[in-house]
Protein backbone atom coordinates (compact mmCIF):
# COMPACT_ATOMS: atom_id res chain seq x y z
CA UNK A 1 0.00 0.00 0.00
CA UNK A 2 2.75 2.36 0.99
CA UNK A 3 4.78 1.20 -1.98
CA UNK A 4 1.88 1.99 -4.24
CA UNK A 5 1.39 5.55 -2.98
CA UNK A 6 5.07 6.22 -3.60
CA UNK A 7 4.90 5.07 -7.16
CA UNK A 8 1.71 7.10 -7.55
CA UNK A 9 3.53 10.18 -6.34
CA UNK A 10 6.46 9.38 -8.65
CA UNK A 11 4.11 9.06 -11.59
CA UNK A 12 2.40 12.33 -10.70
CA UNK A 13 5.76 14.15 -10.53
CA UNK A 14 6.77 12.64 -13.87
CA UNK A 15 3.47 13.71 -15.40
CA UNK A 16 3.87 17.23 -14.05
CA UNK A 17 7.39 17.44 -15.48
CA UNK A 18 6.21 16.00 -18.75
CA UNK A 19 3.43 18.51 -19.17
CA UNK A 20 5.20 21.60 -17.89
CA UNK A 21 8.49 21.20 -19.79
CA UNK A 22 7.07 22.02 -23.21
CA UNK A 23 5.31 25.03 -21.72
CA UNK A 24 8.62 26.33 -20.31
CA UNK A 25 10.71 25.72 -23.38
CA UNK A 26 8.28 25.27 -26.22
CA UNK A 27 10.21 27.57 -28.56
CA UNK A 28 13.30 25.46 -28.09
CA UNK A 29 11.74 22.23 -29.35
CA UNK A 30 12.83 22.91 -32.90
CA UNK A 31 16.41 22.23 -31.84
CA UNK A 32 15.73 18.73 -30.49
CA UNK A 33 16.73 16.88 -33.70
CA UNK A 34 19.52 19.27 -34.66
CA UNK A 35 23.18 19.42 -33.85
CA UNK A 36 26.31 21.28 -34.94
CA UNK A 37 27.86 24.73 -34.72
CA UNK A 38 26.54 28.21 -35.32
CA UNK A 39 29.17 30.95 -35.59
CA UNK A 40 27.90 34.51 -35.24
CA UNK A 41 29.82 37.76 -35.75
CA UNK A 42 29.19 41.42 -36.52
CA UNK A 43 27.26 44.32 -34.93
CA UNK A 44 28.12 44.97 -31.30
CA UNK A 45 24.60 46.08 -30.31
CA UNK A 46 23.38 42.54 -31.08
CA UNK A 47 25.81 40.75 -28.80
CA UNK A 48 23.75 40.66 -25.56
CA UNK A 49 20.67 39.35 -27.41
CA UNK A 50 22.70 36.70 -29.29
CA UNK A 51 24.50 35.59 -26.14
CA UNK A 52 21.29 35.12 -24.17
CA UNK A 53 19.68 33.15 -26.99
CA UNK A 54 22.82 31.00 -27.34
CA UNK A 55 22.90 30.35 -23.60
CA UNK A 56 19.28 29.15 -23.52
CA UNK A 57 19.76 26.86 -26.52
CA UNK A 58 23.08 25.38 -25.43
CA UNK A 59 21.86 24.73 -21.89
CA UNK A 60 19.00 22.61 -23.19
CA UNK A 61 20.83 21.05 -26.16
CA UNK A 62 24.52 20.53 -25.39
CA UNK A 63 25.08 18.97 -28.82
CA UNK A 64 24.70 22.47 -30.32
CA UNK A 65 27.60 24.92 -30.04
CA UNK A 66 27.07 28.62 -30.68
CA UNK A 67 29.87 31.20 -30.72
CA UNK A 68 29.20 34.96 -30.64
CA UNK A 69 31.80 37.52 -31.71
CA UNK A 70 31.73 41.28 -32.44
CA UNK A 71 33.57 43.17 -35.13
CA UNK A 72 30.98 45.70 -36.26
CA UNK A 73 28.27 45.74 -38.89
CA UNK A 74 30.65 45.87 -41.88
CA UNK A 75 32.63 42.92 -40.60
CA UNK A 76 29.43 40.96 -39.98
CA UNK A 77 28.20 41.39 -43.54
CA UNK A 78 31.56 40.54 -45.08
CA UNK A 79 32.20 37.50 -42.90
CA UNK A 80 28.82 35.91 -43.54
CA UNK A 81 29.02 36.60 -47.28
CA UNK A 82 32.45 34.97 -47.47
CA UNK A 83 31.14 31.95 -45.57
CA UNK A 84 33.35 32.52 -42.54
CA UNK A 85 30.40 32.67 -40.15
CA UNK A 86 26.82 31.40 -40.29
CA UNK A 87 25.12 34.60 -39.16
CA UNK A 88 26.48 38.10 -39.77
CA UNK A 89 24.81 40.79 -37.69
CA UNK A 90 24.40 44.37 -38.84
CA UNK A 91 22.84 47.43 -37.22
CA UNK A 92 21.96 48.74 -40.68
CA UNK A 93 20.48 47.33 -43.90
CA UNK A 94 22.90 45.82 -46.43
CA UNK A 95 24.42 48.65 -48.50
CA UNK A 96 23.88 48.89 -52.25
CA UNK A 97 27.52 48.03 -52.93
CA UNK A 98 27.39 45.00 -50.64
CA UNK A 99 24.14 43.91 -52.28
CA UNK A 100 25.84 44.09 -55.67
CA UNK A 101 28.86 42.07 -54.60
CA UNK A 102 26.95 39.55 -52.48
CA UNK A 103 23.47 39.22 -54.04
CA UNK A 104 22.84 35.95 -52.16
CA UNK A 105 22.64 37.59 -48.73
CA UNK A 106 19.35 37.33 -46.85
CA UNK A 107 18.42 39.79 -44.09
CA UNK A 108 16.27 39.06 -41.05
CA UNK A 109 15.30 42.19 -39.07
CA UNK A 110 14.41 41.21 -35.51
CA UNK A 111 14.47 44.30 -33.29
CA UNK A 112 14.20 48.08 -33.18
CA UNK A 113 16.70 50.22 -31.36
CA UNK A 114 16.35 53.93 -30.63
CA UNK A 115 19.25 56.35 -30.40
CA UNK A 116 19.01 59.14 -27.81
CA UNK A 117 20.99 62.37 -27.42
CA UNK A 118 22.69 62.04 -24.06
CA UNK A 119 24.23 64.39 -21.49
CA UNK A 120 25.75 64.15 -18.03
CA UNK A 121 23.19 63.87 -15.17
CA UNK A 122 24.66 67.10 -13.65
CA UNK A 123 23.80 69.09 -16.76
CA UNK A 124 20.74 71.34 -16.16
CA UNK A 125 19.67 71.07 -19.80
CA UNK A 126 17.06 68.35 -20.27
CA UNK A 127 15.58 69.12 -23.66
CA UNK A 128 16.88 70.23 -27.08
CA UNK A 129 15.26 70.62 -30.48
CA UNK A 130 16.74 68.75 -33.42
CA UNK A 131 17.69 72.13 -34.96
CA UNK A 132 19.66 73.00 -31.81
CA UNK A 133 21.42 69.63 -31.90
CA UNK A 134 22.26 70.08 -35.59
CA UNK A 135 23.71 73.52 -34.84
CA UNK A 136 25.76 72.16 -31.95
CA UNK A 137 27.19 69.29 -33.98
CA UNK A 138 27.98 71.58 -36.92
CA UNK A 139 29.87 73.90 -34.57
CA UNK A 140 27.56 76.95 -34.75
CA UNK A 141 26.54 76.69 -31.11
CA UNK A 142 29.58 76.17 -28.87
CA UNK A 143 28.36 77.09 -25.40
CA UNK A 144 25.74 75.44 -23.19
CA UNK A 145 24.40 78.89 -22.18
CA UNK A 146 23.06 79.36 -25.72
CA UNK A 147 20.69 76.42 -25.22
CA UNK A 148 19.68 77.21 -21.64
CA UNK A 149 22.57 75.63 -19.73
CA UNK A 150 25.64 76.74 -17.77
CA UNK A 151 28.23 79.06 -19.26
CA UNK A 152 30.56 76.27 -20.38
CA UNK A 153 32.01 74.90 -23.60
CA UNK A 154 30.03 72.03 -25.15
CA UNK A 155 32.17 68.90 -25.48
CA UNK A 156 30.84 66.93 -28.46
CA UNK A 157 31.27 63.17 -28.55
CA UNK A 158 30.50 61.24 -31.72
CA UNK A 159 31.09 57.74 -33.09
CA UNK A 160 33.24 56.30 -35.85
CA UNK A 161 32.07 55.81 -39.45
CA UNK A 162 31.54 52.07 -38.89
CA UNK A 163 28.97 52.66 -36.15
CA UNK A 164 25.34 51.83 -36.91
CA UNK A 165 24.38 54.08 -33.99
CA UNK A 166 26.18 57.00 -35.64
CA UNK A 167 24.56 56.21 -38.96
CA UNK A 168 20.98 56.47 -37.66
CA UNK A 169 21.68 59.53 -35.49
CA UNK A 170 23.28 61.32 -38.43
CA UNK A 171 20.43 60.50 -40.79
CA UNK A 172 17.44 60.98 -38.52
CA UNK A 173 18.56 63.56 -35.95
CA UNK A 174 21.34 65.53 -37.62
CA UNK A 175 19.49 65.34 -40.94
CA UNK A 176 22.79 64.36 -42.66
CA UNK A 177 24.34 67.65 -41.53
CA UNK A 178 28.03 68.20 -40.91
CA UNK A 179 29.75 67.13 -37.73
CA UNK A 180 32.49 69.50 -36.61
CA UNK A 181 35.97 67.97 -37.05
CA UNK A 182 36.99 68.75 -33.48
CA UNK A 183 34.33 66.35 -32.10
CA UNK A 184 35.78 63.55 -29.99
CA UNK A 185 35.22 60.09 -31.45
CA UNK A 186 34.62 57.07 -29.22
CA UNK A 187 34.64 53.48 -30.40
CA UNK A 188 31.53 51.92 -28.81
CA UNK A 189 28.26 52.58 -26.99
CA UNK A 190 30.01 51.55 -23.78
CA UNK A 191 32.87 54.00 -24.32
CA UNK A 192 30.30 56.73 -25.04
CA UNK A 193 28.59 56.05 -21.72
CA UNK A 194 31.90 56.27 -19.84
CA UNK A 195 32.86 59.52 -21.60
CA UNK A 196 29.50 61.24 -21.06
CA UNK A 197 29.09 60.05 -17.47
CA UNK A 198 32.47 61.58 -16.58
CA UNK A 199 32.21 64.87 -18.44
CA UNK A 200 29.70 67.37 -17.01
CA UNK A 201 29.56 69.35 -20.26
CA UNK A 202 29.44 66.46 -22.71
CA UNK A 203 26.89 65.96 -25.47
CA UNK A 204 26.80 62.53 -27.07
CA UNK A 205 24.30 59.96 -28.31
CA UNK A 206 23.79 56.29 -27.63
CA UNK A 207 21.51 53.32 -28.09
CA UNK A 208 18.45 53.47 -25.78
CA UNK A 209 19.33 49.93 -24.72
CA UNK A 210 22.57 51.21 -23.19
CA UNK A 211 21.02 54.03 -21.11
CA UNK A 212 21.27 53.85 -17.33
CA UNK A 213 21.37 56.33 -14.44
CA UNK A 214 24.99 57.39 -15.04
CA UNK A 215 23.84 59.39 -18.06
CA UNK A 216 20.78 61.51 -18.92
CA UNK A 217 18.87 61.18 -22.20
CA UNK A 218 17.58 64.49 -23.59
CA UNK A 219 14.04 65.02 -24.77
CA UNK A 220 14.20 65.56 -28.51
CA UNK A 221 11.68 68.15 -29.78
CA UNK A 222 9.71 67.49 -26.60
CA UNK A 223 9.59 63.71 -26.97
CA UNK A 224 11.25 61.49 -24.38
CA UNK A 225 13.43 58.80 -25.94
CA UNK A 226 11.88 55.65 -24.48
CA UNK A 227 11.09 52.23 -25.86
CA UNK A 228 7.35 53.05 -25.78
CA UNK A 229 7.78 56.21 -27.85
CA UNK A 230 10.04 54.36 -30.25
CA UNK A 231 7.42 51.64 -30.78
CA UNK A 232 4.47 53.98 -31.29
CA UNK A 233 6.51 55.98 -33.78
CA UNK A 234 6.57 59.27 -31.82
CA UNK A 235 10.32 59.12 -31.28
CA UNK A 236 11.90 59.26 -34.73
CA UNK A 237 15.56 58.32 -34.25
CA UNK A 238 15.24 54.54 -34.54
CA UNK A 239 16.86 51.75 -36.55
CA UNK A 240 16.39 48.05 -37.11
CA UNK A 241 18.82 45.34 -36.04
CA UNK A 242 19.42 42.62 -38.65
CA UNK A 243 20.71 39.07 -38.77
CA UNK A 244 22.07 38.10 -42.21
CA UNK A 245 22.56 34.63 -43.67
CA UNK A 246 24.47 33.54 -46.77
CA UNK A 247 21.67 32.37 -49.05
CA UNK A 248 18.87 30.30 -47.50
CA UNK A 249 19.80 29.42 -43.92
CA UNK A 250 20.59 25.81 -42.99
CA UNK A 251 17.99 24.11 -40.76
CA UNK A 252 20.08 24.80 -37.64
CA UNK A 253 20.65 28.48 -38.52
CA UNK A 254 16.96 28.75 -39.48
CA UNK A 255 15.99 27.36 -36.08
CA UNK A 256 18.23 29.92 -34.37
CA UNK A 257 16.77 32.84 -36.35
CA UNK A 258 13.23 31.60 -35.65
CA UNK A 259 14.06 31.31 -31.95
CA UNK A 260 15.37 34.90 -31.76
CA UNK A 261 12.14 36.05 -33.44
CA UNK A 262 9.83 33.86 -31.32
CA UNK A 263 7.86 35.13 -28.32
CA UNK A 264 10.53 33.79 -25.98
CA UNK A 265 13.18 35.49 -28.09
CA UNK A 266 11.13 38.69 -27.89
CA UNK A 267 11.28 38.63 -24.08
CA UNK A 268 15.04 38.22 -24.39
CA UNK A 269 15.22 41.21 -26.75
CA UNK A 270 13.15 43.42 -24.40
CA UNK A 271 15.27 42.34 -21.42
CA UNK A 272 18.30 43.66 -23.24
CA UNK A 273 16.69 47.05 -23.79
CA UNK A 274 15.68 46.68 -27.44
CA UNK A 275 12.23 46.50 -28.97
CA UNK A 276 11.24 43.20 -30.63
CA UNK A 277 9.68 43.44 -34.07
Amino acid sequence: MRQQSFSGLFLAVLLIIFFTLPAVSGELDHFSNLQGNIDIAGGTAHIPVMKDAAKHIMTKYPQITITVAGGGSGVGVQKVAEGLVDIGNAGRPISAKEQKKYPQLRSFPFAVDGVAPTVNPDNIVSELTSIQIQNIFSGEIKNWKDVGGDDAEIHIYSRDEASGTRSVFWKKCLNKGTVVESANIVASNGAMKVAVSQDQYALGYMSIGHLDNTVKPLNLDGITPTQENAINGQYPVVRKLFMNSNGAPTPLVKAFIDYVMSSEGATNISNNGYIPL
Partner: protein, 281 residues
Protein backbone atom coordinates in the same frame (compact mmCIF):
# COMPACT_ATOMS: atom_id res chain seq x y z
CA UNK B 1 70.16 23.01 -37.03
CA UNK B 2 71.75 25.44 -39.45
CA UNK B 3 69.21 24.54 -42.11
CA UNK B 4 66.40 25.14 -39.65
CA UNK B 5 67.78 28.58 -38.82
CA UNK B 6 68.03 29.40 -42.51
CA UNK B 7 64.44 28.38 -43.09
CA UNK B 8 63.36 30.48 -40.14
CA UNK B 9 65.21 33.49 -41.53
CA UNK B 10 63.79 33.10 -45.00
CA UNK B 11 60.32 32.57 -43.57
CA UNK B 12 60.44 35.75 -41.45
CA UNK B 13 61.79 37.80 -44.33
CA UNK B 14 59.07 36.42 -46.61
CA UNK B 15 56.32 37.37 -44.18
CA UNK B 16 57.52 40.98 -44.16
CA UNK B 17 57.72 41.04 -47.96
CA UNK B 18 54.28 39.47 -48.32
CA UNK B 19 52.88 42.04 -45.90
CA UNK B 20 54.40 44.83 -47.96
CA UNK B 21 53.08 43.35 -51.19
CA UNK B 22 49.63 42.85 -49.70
CA UNK B 23 49.41 46.45 -48.46
CA UNK B 24 50.59 47.80 -51.80
CA UNK B 25 48.16 45.58 -53.70
CA UNK B 26 45.21 46.82 -51.69
CA UNK B 27 46.30 50.45 -52.02
CA UNK B 28 46.43 50.11 -55.82
CA UNK B 29 42.66 50.60 -56.41
CA UNK B 30 43.15 54.11 -55.01
CA UNK B 31 45.77 54.85 -57.66
CA UNK B 32 43.59 53.35 -60.38
CA UNK B 33 40.55 55.40 -59.43
CA UNK B 34 42.64 58.54 -59.25
CA UNK B 35 41.81 58.97 -55.60
CA UNK B 36 45.36 58.93 -54.39
CA UNK B 37 45.66 62.72 -54.43
CA UNK B 38 42.53 62.89 -52.29
CA UNK B 39 44.35 60.97 -49.58
CA UNK B 40 46.49 64.03 -49.03
CA UNK B 41 43.61 66.43 -48.55
CA UNK B 42 43.20 68.17 -45.20
CA UNK B 43 39.79 66.74 -44.38
CA UNK B 44 38.45 63.33 -43.44
CA UNK B 45 34.76 63.48 -44.39
CA UNK B 46 33.99 60.10 -45.93
CA UNK B 47 30.31 60.96 -46.34
CA UNK B 48 31.20 63.97 -48.46
CA UNK B 49 33.72 62.03 -50.52
CA UNK B 50 36.82 63.43 -48.79
CA UNK B 51 39.33 60.86 -47.61
CA UNK B 52 42.23 63.01 -46.46
CA UNK B 53 44.58 61.25 -44.09
CA UNK B 54 46.86 64.27 -43.51
CA UNK B 55 45.14 65.05 -40.17
CA UNK B 56 46.01 61.51 -39.03
CA UNK B 57 49.60 61.74 -40.27
CA UNK B 58 50.12 65.07 -38.51
CA UNK B 59 48.38 63.73 -35.39
CA UNK B 60 50.69 60.71 -35.33
CA UNK B 61 53.80 62.87 -35.74
CA UNK B 62 52.70 65.44 -33.17
CA UNK B 63 51.91 62.72 -30.64
CA UNK B 64 55.06 60.66 -31.20
CA UNK B 65 57.35 63.70 -31.09
CA UNK B 66 55.79 65.20 -27.97
CA UNK B 67 55.82 61.84 -26.19
CA UNK B 68 59.49 61.52 -27.08
CA UNK B 69 60.21 65.06 -25.89
CA UNK B 70 58.72 64.20 -22.51
CA UNK B 71 60.12 60.69 -22.16
CA UNK B 72 63.63 61.13 -23.53
CA UNK B 73 65.06 63.65 -21.01
CA UNK B 74 63.34 61.71 -18.25
CA UNK B 75 64.86 58.44 -19.44
CA UNK B 76 68.31 59.94 -19.83
CA UNK B 77 68.08 61.40 -16.32
CA UNK B 78 67.11 58.04 -14.86
CA UNK B 79 70.06 56.36 -16.63
CA UNK B 80 72.50 58.91 -15.21
CA UNK B 81 70.89 58.47 -11.81
CA UNK B 82 71.46 54.73 -12.01
CA UNK B 83 75.05 55.05 -13.24
CA UNK B 84 76.49 57.18 -10.51
CA UNK B 85 74.49 60.36 -9.92
CA UNK B 86 72.08 58.71 -7.51
CA UNK B 87 72.83 56.68 -4.38
CA UNK B 88 74.25 53.30 -5.28
CA UNK B 89 71.69 51.28 -3.27
CA UNK B 90 68.84 52.79 -5.31
CA UNK B 91 70.33 51.82 -8.69
CA UNK B 92 69.19 48.20 -8.74
CA UNK B 93 65.66 48.80 -7.45
CA UNK B 94 65.22 51.58 -10.03
CA UNK B 95 66.25 49.30 -12.87
CA UNK B 96 64.04 46.52 -11.53
CA UNK B 97 61.12 48.94 -11.51
CA UNK B 98 61.83 49.93 -15.11
CA UNK B 99 62.00 46.26 -16.12
CA UNK B 100 58.68 45.76 -14.38
CA UNK B 101 57.17 48.64 -16.34
CA UNK B 102 57.81 46.85 -19.62
CA UNK B 103 55.38 44.14 -18.53
CA UNK B 104 52.41 46.42 -17.88
CA UNK B 105 49.80 46.04 -20.65
CA UNK B 106 49.10 49.21 -22.64
CA UNK B 107 45.41 49.06 -21.84
CA UNK B 108 46.16 49.56 -18.14
CA UNK B 109 47.90 52.86 -18.86
CA UNK B 110 45.04 53.86 -21.13
CA UNK B 111 42.42 52.95 -18.55
CA UNK B 112 44.15 54.83 -15.73
CA UNK B 113 44.58 57.86 -18.00
CA UNK B 114 40.88 57.91 -18.94
CA UNK B 115 39.78 57.89 -15.32
CA UNK B 116 42.52 60.06 -13.71
CA UNK B 117 44.49 62.13 -16.19
CA UNK B 118 41.68 63.15 -18.57
CA UNK B 119 39.33 64.51 -15.82
CA UNK B 120 42.32 66.28 -14.26
CA UNK B 121 43.11 68.09 -17.52
CA UNK B 122 39.42 68.81 -18.15
CA UNK B 123 38.82 70.34 -14.73
CA UNK B 124 42.01 72.39 -14.52
CA UNK B 125 42.03 73.92 -17.98
CA UNK B 126 39.07 75.67 -19.54
CA UNK B 127 39.71 74.45 -23.07
CA UNK B 128 38.62 71.07 -24.41
CA UNK B 129 37.23 67.89 -22.96
CA UNK B 130 40.53 66.54 -21.62
CA UNK B 131 40.81 63.94 -24.36
CA UNK B 132 43.75 65.57 -26.08
CA UNK B 133 47.22 65.51 -27.57
CA UNK B 134 48.62 66.43 -24.14
CA UNK B 135 46.84 63.60 -22.32
CA UNK B 136 47.94 61.05 -24.89
CA UNK B 137 51.51 62.37 -25.01
CA UNK B 138 51.84 62.14 -21.21
CA UNK B 139 50.45 58.60 -21.13
CA UNK B 140 52.47 57.46 -24.13
CA UNK B 141 55.68 58.91 -22.66
CA UNK B 142 55.29 56.54 -19.71
CA UNK B 143 54.84 53.66 -22.13
CA UNK B 144 58.01 54.39 -24.13
CA UNK B 145 60.09 55.35 -21.08
CA UNK B 146 61.32 51.77 -20.34
CA UNK B 147 62.35 51.28 -23.99
CA UNK B 148 64.48 54.41 -23.82
CA UNK B 149 65.98 53.66 -20.41
CA UNK B 150 66.83 50.04 -21.15
CA UNK B 151 68.53 50.89 -24.46
CA UNK B 152 70.68 53.70 -23.04
CA UNK B 153 71.38 51.62 -19.96
CA UNK B 154 72.54 48.60 -21.94
CA UNK B 155 75.25 50.76 -23.54
CA UNK B 156 76.27 52.54 -20.37
CA UNK B 157 76.58 49.19 -18.63
CA UNK B 158 79.39 48.32 -21.05
CA UNK B 159 81.11 51.67 -20.99
CA UNK B 160 80.91 52.96 -17.43
CA UNK B 161 82.69 50.10 -15.55
CA UNK B 162 85.59 50.22 -18.02
CA UNK B 163 86.09 53.95 -17.54
CA UNK B 164 85.35 54.33 -13.87
CA UNK B 165 88.71 53.24 -12.49
CA UNK B 166 90.60 55.51 -14.87
CA UNK B 167 88.39 58.53 -14.34
CA UNK B 168 88.46 58.09 -10.56
CA UNK B 169 92.27 57.87 -10.67
CA UNK B 170 92.38 61.06 -12.72
CA UNK B 171 90.16 62.79 -10.19
CA UNK B 172 87.32 63.44 -12.63
CA UNK B 173 83.99 63.95 -10.88
CA UNK B 174 81.07 61.59 -11.56
CA UNK B 175 79.05 64.19 -13.36
CA UNK B 176 81.94 65.11 -15.62
CA UNK B 177 82.75 61.50 -16.31
CA UNK B 178 79.16 60.77 -17.33
CA UNK B 179 78.43 63.86 -19.37
CA UNK B 180 81.82 64.36 -21.03
CA UNK B 181 83.12 60.82 -21.49
CA UNK B 182 80.53 58.07 -21.04
CA UNK B 183 77.59 59.70 -22.84
CA UNK B 184 79.57 60.68 -25.93
CA UNK B 185 80.94 57.14 -26.05
CA UNK B 186 77.37 55.81 -25.83
CA UNK B 187 76.15 57.78 -28.84
CA UNK B 188 74.79 54.65 -30.54
CA UNK B 189 72.65 53.83 -27.51
CA UNK B 190 71.46 57.43 -27.25
CA UNK B 191 70.41 57.57 -30.88
CA UNK B 192 68.88 54.12 -31.05
CA UNK B 193 66.87 54.88 -27.88
CA UNK B 194 65.43 57.97 -29.54
CA UNK B 195 64.64 56.15 -32.78
CA UNK B 196 63.14 53.06 -31.18
CA UNK B 197 61.19 55.21 -28.72
CA UNK B 198 59.78 57.14 -31.65
CA UNK B 199 58.95 53.93 -33.50
CA UNK B 200 57.15 52.54 -30.47
CA UNK B 201 55.21 55.79 -30.06
CA UNK B 202 54.15 55.78 -33.73
CA UNK B 203 53.06 52.16 -33.56
CA UNK B 204 51.00 52.29 -30.39
CA UNK B 205 47.26 52.10 -30.98
CA UNK B 206 45.41 51.71 -27.75
CA UNK B 207 46.57 54.77 -25.83
CA UNK B 208 45.83 57.07 -28.74
CA UNK B 209 42.46 55.41 -29.27
CA UNK B 210 41.44 55.69 -25.62
CA UNK B 211 42.93 59.05 -24.63
CA UNK B 212 43.65 61.29 -27.63
CA UNK B 213 39.98 62.02 -28.47
CA UNK B 214 40.19 60.79 -32.10
CA UNK B 215 39.00 63.99 -33.79
CA UNK B 216 40.29 63.93 -37.37
CA UNK B 217 41.80 67.43 -37.38
CA UNK B 218 45.27 68.92 -37.72
CA UNK B 219 46.49 69.54 -34.15
CA UNK B 220 47.15 73.16 -33.24
CA UNK B 221 47.23 73.19 -29.45
CA UNK B 222 48.16 70.69 -26.78
CA UNK B 223 44.51 70.55 -25.71
CA UNK B 224 43.22 69.65 -29.17
CA UNK B 225 41.65 66.27 -29.69
CA UNK B 226 43.71 64.35 -32.27
CA UNK B 227 43.58 61.06 -34.19
CA UNK B 228 46.59 58.91 -35.03
CA UNK B 229 46.97 56.60 -38.05
CA UNK B 230 46.79 53.53 -35.85
CA UNK B 231 43.65 54.68 -34.02
CA UNK B 232 42.16 55.67 -37.38
CA UNK B 233 42.58 52.14 -38.72
CA UNK B 234 41.11 50.67 -35.54
CA UNK B 235 38.08 52.97 -35.74
CA UNK B 236 37.31 52.63 -39.43
CA UNK B 237 38.16 48.98 -40.10
CA UNK B 238 34.63 47.79 -39.38
CA UNK B 239 33.06 49.86 -42.16
CA UNK B 240 31.56 48.48 -45.36
CA UNK B 241 34.53 46.68 -46.92
CA UNK B 242 33.57 47.64 -50.48
CA UNK B 243 33.93 51.37 -49.90
CA UNK B 244 36.73 53.84 -50.60
CA UNK B 245 36.74 54.53 -46.86
CA UNK B 246 37.91 50.98 -46.34
CA UNK B 247 40.51 51.02 -49.12
CA UNK B 248 42.02 54.24 -47.81
CA UNK B 249 42.95 52.32 -44.67
CA UNK B 250 45.47 50.30 -46.63
CA UNK B 251 47.24 53.54 -47.50
CA UNK B 252 47.41 54.30 -43.76
CA UNK B 253 48.79 50.81 -43.16
CA UNK B 254 51.36 51.28 -45.91
CA UNK B 255 52.52 54.58 -44.40
CA UNK B 256 52.84 52.99 -40.96
CA UNK B 257 54.71 50.03 -42.40
CA UNK B 258 57.13 52.27 -44.29
CA UNK B 259 57.68 54.42 -41.19
CA UNK B 260 58.59 51.43 -39.05
CA UNK B 261 60.70 49.95 -41.80
CA UNK B 262 62.67 53.18 -42.21
CA UNK B 263 63.07 53.45 -38.43
CA UNK B 264 64.68 50.02 -38.44
CA UNK B 265 66.84 50.70 -41.49
CA UNK B 266 68.02 53.94 -39.93
CA UNK B 267 68.89 52.07 -36.77
CA UNK B 268 70.85 49.53 -38.78
CA UNK B 269 72.80 52.22 -40.61
CA UNK B 270 73.64 54.06 -37.42
CA UNK B 271 74.83 50.88 -35.79
CA UNK B 272 76.96 50.10 -38.80
CA UNK B 273 78.56 53.51 -38.80
CA UNK B 274 79.14 53.80 -35.07
CA UNK B 275 80.53 50.31 -34.97
CA UNK B 276 83.13 51.19 -37.53
CA UNK B 277 84.24 54.19 -35.49
CA UNK B 278 84.17 52.59 -32.04
CA UNK B 279 84.38 48.97 -30.99
CA UNK B 280 80.85 47.66 -30.52
CA UNK B 281 80.49 44.20 -29.09
Amino acid sequence: MEAFLQYATVFSALIVLILFGFLTYFTLPLFAEGQFAELFSLHWRPFHGEFGILPMISGTLALAISALLIAYPLGLGICLFVHGLGPRWLARPTLLLVHGMTGIPTVVYGFVAVFLLVPLLRNNFSHGSGFSLLAAALTLSILILPTIILLINSQLEHIVPKLRLTTTALGISRIHELTRISLPAASYGLLSAAILGFGRAVGDTLIALMVAGNAAQIPEFAFDSIRTLTAHIALVVATDSQSTTYHSLFACGLILFLTTASVNLLLHRIKHRTCRETDCE
